[in-house]
Symmetry: C3
């Protein structure tokens, strides 16, 4: 199999990406989140801090009403109950028909076979972006069909793939960026990754270049985490400081601190 | 339709209202909350900070046991799953039969028709107070029957209506107060409004004048929010500071800072 | 009935206990928590702060996969819905068969008869430890069979009993310790007790002497709470500070501050 070459981000890309995530503050998009019970509160707070308007219902009876008036949809598989799966079916169908963005976060698919199976069926339904770590990637990518790299997965599924880790990789197959910002303490706060994916969803609601939107959200999130970690005395204060940082960080600071390659 | 004139609050009303909410610290009422998954944790923490003892189960099998030993009930429609609806039916029936106060918070009824319909059936079952914003008011009031103002809704439903906004309005039809305290940053924290309604429920458990109780809770909440906003650096720190404020604010400070009209 | 004499903790016990809980930082055990909706987020954050890796799914379809790859299981009855009960049945059976530790926290069984009944059936299935307060003890102990003290309950059920209160008691029937650390403000934060029991579960995953493990977790938790209370301005800041404390407190500080008898 031939390896794919992909373009690296330019300073211009960083500006566009940061502009995209800051546009969330102005446009205040409505983001509907079907996310796990552990992450609901922190995710809603992070979206509000960034300027978006979250809604979080998972009830099949009313999911259509909420998704119908939302600008983008997040599907996070962190709690895999029947009600949420039913809601996901309705919501994804609706958002795909309406041509609006939706993002898949297949949390912990490496720990549960039925969840991995469900994630694979969702990946066949054209998510705008997928965010996952290396273990989750291994659990859902079709390696036998050649999906060995995030670039290949992105091309196969026509979506943006964000591979999270010490360094985040964001690729649409043609363009790949590495984000070197962030802080290890972020991994000591529950739902931190889930909330980051919600921010990606918000950026996709206000930026049509999906790679730029995903990059902007994860870059701002990582810079905010770094900023917060510098002020925090542990994981408790970090979770609070990152909300304040996302509400307050300005364009200049984000640009100055961004470390992309 | 004739407009209703209603009395304005006097300094004596402010004192009675603040005494009511501070009585929560002494009496420690048990408040059962059927509230949405996003708000459960923050609501429980806010009730504990104010001195009340929260319980939060939504299981139909045991809701009767919990409500039977609670002093008041909160019904918040923010997540509209089947289990919660079933629990609401049992709980409201029980609390109404026992003659204890219950409060309805019809969150986001403007975003979901089935939820608005459910809210209307609950409004027919004599809530002690209803708290909602302008969009939610428009979704559940029967405008054709003349329910165009919070005063009229309060008279029709024999309850207190708290209309939240930049300025909160609290009315029982005969008496109307406007609360000018609060801070815009409060809207950037999820479940802030839901938790405020829980505080109303706690005040109703210890004060028989339902208008005084509702006013006291929302006034203390708004002053605490203002106090917290003055110390906060963003929405993350605000959510923490308001809990500390509710635990610590004294009668003198509340009276001095109250801005009622 | 003859009263049981039990040994008191020695300074050597304190060292072993503190070593056990600090081992969580090195070994990073996976702890699966079936816990109530109010406590999920804070419990996950407390486990992460202490060094453990939490998972929280309650879906019967995948609970076996999660428990199968976890080092210990927490069962907290704080929300008593059907899905959680179904998940508990599967999870307890699996963990008992595998010979791994599991801990029961029968929250609020004094408020709900069906919950107390469920707790009693679980107590017959050999939990490694049970943590409960005096009211919960009275609701589940078989007083007629002589279970009048935590020591007797521990001997009857072959488990460690941790009786929480102003002073925590930890006993396996033969050895009993009293922990005099802690702060009353801890009771003003929701899920604080639930999170403490999760820390017990994590310590049991890395220490085979179940009494030493339970003692270590509750001692570290109480010292962290005390440390946090000294820095907090109310319950809001306390909840944040205790997470930072658990992530940072060193062996020397824990040993110096421990007040055992």
């Amino acid at each position: 199999m031939q390896m794919l070459a992909s373009d690296h981000p330019t300073p211009q890309h960083a500006k566009l990406a940061i502009d995209a995530v800051l546009r969330v503050r102005e446009r205040r998009p409505r983001i509907h989140c079907i996310t796990n019970a552990v992450a609901q509160n922190f995710t809603a707070n992070l979206l509000l801090a960034a300027g978006a308007i979250p809604s979080m219902t998972v009830a099949p009876d009313e999911i259509a009403d909420f998704v119908g008036s939302a600008d983008a949809l997040l599907v996070n598989l962190g709690t895999f109950d029947r009600e949420r799966r039913e809601a996901v079916e309705i919501a994804v169908k609706q958002v795909v028909n309406a041509g609006r963005p939706w993002v898949l976060d297949p949390v912990f698919v490496d720990r549960s076979r039925p969840r991995a199976q469900f994630a694979r069926t969702l990946m066949a339904r054209s998510p705008t972006a997928i965010r996952l770590n290396a273990a989750e990637f291994a659990a859902v990518a079709d390696v036998q069909a050649g999906e060995k790299t995030p670039e290949r997965l992105a091309l196969d599924r026509c979506c943006v793939v964000a591979l999270s880790g010490a360094i985040d990789i964001v690729t649409d197959g043609a363009r790949t960026a590495k984000i070197e910002n962030g802080d290890p303490l972020m991994a000591r706060v529950t739902a931190m990754g889930c909330a980051g994916t919600a921010l990606v969803t918000a950026a996709l609601a206000v930026e049509t270049d999906r790679w730029v939107a995903t990059l902007g959200a994860l870059l701002a999130f990582a810079v905010a985490g770094e900023w917060a970690a510098a002020r925090a005395r542990g994981p408790g204060t970090l979770a609070i400081e990152i909300l304040d940082a996302l509400a307050n960080l300005d364009r200049e600071t984000l640009l100055t601190r961004a470390r992309l390659s």
